[in-house]
Subunit: 244 residues, 2 copies
DNA sequence: ATCCGGATGTGTCAACTTGACACAAAGGGT
DNA sequence: ACCCTTTGTGTCAAGTTGACACATCCGGAT
């Protein structure tokens, strides 16, 4: 996230005072709205997320998720997509709002309310072209050591991962990270990578079958061992299975 | 929600054009941030929510959840509490962020991004003193016929109710709607009112007991019939029970 | 042609959970 | 003493979950 265009006179006063009424500011002064997006990809059985390194400002050198200010007239989702595209060159297959972080001190420069998003891309062309707006950009394995994060992005990272884990259980969200067709083993490895633990193959197949979201394709993938049946998701839009 | 102090030149252009870049606005023009809170109470076995009627503006006469613009330097939660207090005179026992609605056309006057909250009060003094900022205010049963809602508040209402229902299943969120001590029947009626269906008494007791969030008090409530044992929640903060 | 290696694909059983269901107990009121 | 109404409790069948082992299939090597 890089909140450019923040006028210096709009900095909030964070002088250690208790929750001040914060009304000494100009009458029309208001918090700004940003979006920050946690972009996930599964690469080689590892779950990874994209971070950019800030080039300037008090947080120079710290890392952050792609994001930026929302424009007037712009949908929040569109802002997230726009920032993602301009920062990484990637168009996400899935985008979901997570939570809104509004602590006035989360950004030392100004009061910026940030709507956090989670995005998924189906692996193929993950050629993230580093934006010139940032010092660097790259994929980091998660859960794992991330570089020092700016703002409250460590919170956002935790939140995104837990949401992603939860959604695996009752949606076809995996459809957005996998290619059109895939083997059961690939699906299992995806779940294992995201959940951070291995799964029992038989029980996993039973569970997935019970969800009824898969379609068995009449082809197999041949390799040096027994061929694996190929599957695809029935729907390419998010499906939620009932589980009262 | 009443977004006062919105300068007229800050209206977005909604002229039917496709998702326009929306950049003809002034460089420093940005969406505003508001909070809107769905306040729930259970009264006489009925779930109700508080609405205010707008006094002026293009949506005059429509009803809305209490809310308003966030100030610079203010936490989102604090903004929600402040609006709730100034609108109803009530302090909520529980407050939870739901979702952020950012459609630029949700408010015809300006682009206002609204962070929706759900709040609960433990019934006693629900003497909502109507604020002079609104034409009227009152409790409406939900689910049920609500008056015509402004903005996208019908969406928010649905979202809040479904979140509340879901949380009953795996948290002690009921603690914030009930008095300190209560009978099992009162708890059951609360669940029934919120879920909108009756529950089997024996199965309900089994489930609640399994959650392990209740404490049996050594007193009983005497009435015209068999006395009922009194219970209280062990913790008065939100507890989430594991259910993988 | 046969064998081997390694990944794919399948069934059972015990433990637990869920939903349906009926009757006894405890008071106050008459 | 009896009645009325509400509270409080157990069982059983059906379904679900987690643990567990072995046969199948193909390519490649012998």
């Amino acid at each position: 996230m890089d909140h450019t265009n923040i006028a210096p006179e709009q900095r909030p006063q964070h002088n250690g005072a208790p929750p001040a009424p914060a009304r000494r500011a100009h009458r029309y002064e208001r918090p700004k709205v940003a979006v920050d997006t946690v972009l996930f990809v599964v690469d080689g059985g590892r779950l990874k997320t994209y971070l950019v390194q800030l080039k300037s400002g008090p947080l120079r050198g710290k890392w952050a998720f792609p994001g930026g200010l929302v424009r007037v007239g712009e949908m929040l989702d569109d802002a997230a997509r726009r920032q993602l595209l301009s920062t990484t060159g990637l168009e996400c297959a899935y985008l979901e709002q997570l939570f809104t972080f509004g602590d006035p001190s989360r950004d030392p420069r100004a009061h910026v309310v940030s709507v956090a998003y989670m995005a998924l891309i189906s692996d193929p062309a993950r050629v993230a072209v580093p934006s010139h707006k940032y010092a660097a950009g790259g994929w980091y394995e998660v859960p794992g050591q991330l570089p020092p994060l700016a703002y409250d992005h460590a919170l956002i990272a935790d939140y995104a991962l837990s949401r992603l884990k939860a959604k695996l259980a009752y949606t076809n969200i995996a459809a957005f990270v996998l290619p059109k067709s895939f083997t059961f083993k690939e699906l299992e490895d995806l779940y294992a990578a995201i959940l951070g633990r291995s799964l029992d193959r038989r029980n996993f197949r039973r569970r997935i079958a019970a969800m009824g979201l898969l379609k068995k394709l009449p082809v197999k993938r041949y390799g040096p061992h027994r061929p694996a049946g190929l599957y695809s998701f029935r729907k390419q839009t998010l499906q939620v299975v009932q589980m009262l």
